[in-house]
Amino acid sequence: MRSIRLKIFRGTSNSGEFKEYTLEVEEGMVVLDAIHRLQATQSPDLACRWNCKAGKCGSCSAEINGKPRLMCMTRLNDLPVNKTITIAPLQTFPIMKDLATDVSWNYQVNKKITPFTPKSNAEWHWEQKDIDRIQEFRKCIECFLCQDVCHVLRVHQKHSVYAGPRFFVRMAALEMHPIDSADRLPFLKTDAGLGYCNITKCCTQVCPESIAITDNAIIPLKERVVDRFYDPIFILFRKLFKKK
């Protein structure tokens, strides 16, 4: 047993503030356990999302000490001891209440993506190596941490013209499927705003599924778009990093 101090955002989009709590915790607890204990003992109406408590569902995203993470996979032991732990909701999306944010925008973006469209005369046989790379993308648990951290959304609020890394990953999985036949490149270039991404790789750094979002999804998509359309930033990037 030891005692920790927490600072948690309490409130709605209209009004709210960080409130301080002191809590007894045990060895092995994760941040989500601390939240649950707070709910059970001090603050039953503290709102937060969770489901699996095993890093599989992507519900419990929050900003812990300023870093976007899953609460269920962040051990208290791994955070600096004797320092107050700050837990805030994702900044990129409107706050509903406390740690729960309104992520419905993501679902709207998803709807716009042309779904899997198999070739009409497809052979449904392929080797494992043909799908290794899309299986990486399909590991995505839709925690939206990458969306949260991407400056195009977080700072520049380009929600209306930009799909964000999560959906680049999804489109990469579709585009690279061995028998998909749809063409999503025009959509990627225009509505999805792929050009806004300037490859800062912040998304990759926060992905709890360790998906190489930038290297394996975004850059290959940019290559494809650039081969068909024109993207000045990416051409510059290609020059700088001598990719051809």
Binding site: V30, P44, A47, N51, G55, K111, E127
Partner: protein, 627 residues
């Protein structure tokens, strides 16, 4: 008029967006109907997302000996013949098509390595052949995401973070559902011509559980309160391998895939004890010595030889869950466990670190991140955890119709398919097979209904008032304290091992908890308030807890997941009945009815083909000794 409450009208209302609900909604909407899908979490987060090991279907892509008949037989033997045989048959027949269909919709399954590029399948407990289509150890995610993406492009209207609190009826027919949005707390009315319940399980009823918070038995309770019959409620599956340390992750599932990939159990004497626990029904099918099991492991798992070319039998670690869970429990009870009260599950000495990380990536990460344990170096410590509900809404095996008109049920909240014990992988296939059937039946039913019914506003007022009660009660006990006590009562009185006295006591304690629940109080307001949500969920958990205990009391025998210390054997008379729970004016009504039996000629055919074994059938039917 019902204008006072936000009102929606749909031909088909599907409650629950796990695999079963999504599949039902897709089918109903493909039939041209207006469909709503309601779920307590965000879309794509339902409990199904956690499923790891795979989907069982006799695809025969790896072992060409596999057939639907064998899958049927394995399911029946695994369920100790308590299954509704017809559901098991439909399931075995249709599962391969449902898996291939999922692939057509974009699921990306792991492939075979034989150069043919088919869907790969793996071993799981109780399945005679390799049979589980999978994607690493995240098969549930693949299934759910595929259905989700299919569903959203089909015009299904999704109401996320919305909890249904009550079904509404006119005579013996469902006409709608009433609930609240979790974000705002505001009430909502869905008028519907038919309803599919696909609300998942009951795991939160027990202290040590692999289930998410959503699994509060809502569908069972909603159906029960509306007058639907529940069946097989005594059969609660405890999975043998849950994490035991640290306390905060106690119960978290360790996939059976670990054993499928070669993992073995050892007690604190270093003994690989599963050989001592092989029941008669599995004597022919599993290795009797460590040597035989190791040779099988070497040939089949390490060298990847075809099983049909191997004469050794599978290791007993791969028996069905009820058998394995009891073995672990016994070892632990008799003092052969380890420091945190578990048994060792060892993969480290069996496979290379590289293989483990490749085959079981999420297990590797789960232990590394949550327990500081590197499973490529040391064994995992594991123990039984509440995992799955075999019982549920009694349904027609073909249409999934309940005993109430217009009300259908599919997935974990329905009964019959799994008997007294579910085999791993048979749930995900169940979701697809019966989810589809429920959606289809609901659609057909709705097509015949011309208009939406008027709903009596006073009934809704009454329900809304009931939901609000935790705010109006004088300040007192909060829901979390009651939940925690309820879990302890269930663990003690109607857990893995049961006996009459304990269960009678359990019923008394449940009664006391019911009284405490009437006075439960909640802080704050109706906006996204987990304390309030828990208070309302408790009603459902209590109903399910009582149903389990009452059904378990009636069944005076041990069968599958239901173990009575006071009646350890299979009973001939109970082998022919199923227990039914139903609401009556005063208290919960428990009765038994005949369990439909496999037709004689079909059984004889399977015996002739060596797919079923007559001696085993007679053991399970209590005709000859088995335990």
């Amino acid at each position: 008029m019902d204008a006072k409450y936000t009102t929606h009208e749909f031909d088909v209302l599907v409650i629950g967006a796990g695999g079963a609900g999504l599949r039902a909604a897709i089918e109903a909407s493909a039939n041209g109907l207006k469909v709503a899908l309601v779920c307590k979490s965000l879309l794509g987060k339902a409990h199904t997302v956690m499923a790891e090991g795979g989907i069982a279907a006799a695809l025969g892509t790896v072992d060409s000996r596999d057939t639907w008949q064998q899958h049927f037989a394995d399911t029946m033997i695994g369920g100790n013949l308590a299954n509704h045989w017809q559901m098991a048959q439909i399931h075995a027949l249709e599962a391969p098509d449902r898996v291939r269909e999922l692939e057509k919709w974009g699921a990306v399954f792991d492939r075979t390595t034989d150069g043919k590029g088919n869907i790969n399948v793996r071993h799981f407990g109780g399945h005679t052949y390799k049979r589980l289509a999978h994607v690493g150890d995240r098969t549930g995610l693949e299934l759910l995401r595929t259905l989700q993406d299919r569903g959203v492009h089909q015009g299904i209207e999704v109401f996320m973070e919305c909890t249904v609190y009550s079904l509404l009826k006119k005579e013996n027919r469902v006409v709608g559902a009433f609930g609240y949005f979790r974000e705002t707390g505001s009430p909502v009315l869905f008028k519907a011509k038919s309803i599919v319940l696909a609300t998942g399980g009951i795991g939160k009823l027990y202290r040590v559980s692999s289930n998410s918070w959503e699994c509060t038995g809502d569908g069972f309770a909603l159906g029960y309160l509306a007058g639907a019959e529940l069946a097989d409620m005594e059969y609660v599956q405890f999975h043998p391998t849950g994490m035991v340390w640290p306390p905060s992750v106690r119960g978290l599932l360790i996939t059976e895939g670990v054993r499928g990939e070669g993992g073995v159990f050892r007690n604190n004497l270093g003994k690989r004890f599963m050989f001592d626990y092989i029941p008669p029904k599995y004597k022919d099918k599993y290795a009797s010595t460590e040597e035989e099991a190791n040779t099988w492991f070497q040939k089949v798992i390490v060298e990847g030889r075809k099983e049909e070319t191997v004469k050794e039998r599978k290791p007993p670690e791969l028996m069905s869950r009820d058998v394995v869970a009891r073995a672990l429990w016994t070892e632990i009870e008799q003092g052969r466990g380890f420091e945190h009260g578990g048994i060792h599950l060892d993969i480290a000495t069996r496979r290379s670190a590289e293989d483990i990380k490749k085959k079981l990536p999420s297990m590797y990460h789960q232990f590394k991140q949550l327990a500081d344990v590197d499973i490529t170096k040391v064994p995992m410590e594991v123990g039984p955890t509440c995992h799955y509900m075999m019982g549920g809404i009694k349904v027609d095996p073909e249409t999934q119709g309940s005993t109430i008109d217009g009300l259908f049920a599919a997935g974990e909240c329905s009964a019959g398919m799994h008997g007294s014990n579910r085999l791993g992988g048979n749930s995900l296939s169940d979701l697809l097979v019966f989810g589809r059937r429920a959606g289809l039946s609901a659609a057909e039913y709705s097509k015949k209904i011309k208009t939406f019914e008027q709903i009596d506003e006073s009934e809704l007022d009454q329900l809304n008032h009931e939901m609000n009660r935790p705010f109006e009660n004088p300040k007192g006990e909060n829901a979390y304290a009651i939940l925690s006590d309820l879990q302890q009562v269930m663990e003690k009185g109607a857990g893995m091992y049961r006996e009459e006295k304990g269960m009678m006591n359990c019923l008394k304690e449940l009664d006391q908890i019911k009284k405490r629940l009437e006075k439960v109080s909640t802080e704050g307001n109706r906006m996204f308030n987990p304390g309030w949500h828990t208070a309302l969920d408790l009603r459902n958990l209590l109903i399910v807890g009582e149903a389990i205990t009452r059904a378990a009391l009636i069944r005076r025998e041990s069968r599958g997941a239901h173990t009575r210390i006071d009646f350890l054997n299979y009973s001939e008379s109970f082998s022919k009945t199923r227990v039914i729970v139903k609401k009556s004016a005063q208290e919960m009504q428990v009765s038994s009815e005949n369990l439909s039996q496999i037709p004689k000629d079909f059984e004889a055919e399977l015996i002739a083909k060596n797919i079923l074994n007559e001696v085993v059938l007679n053991q399970l039917r209590g005709k000859i000794a088995a335990h």
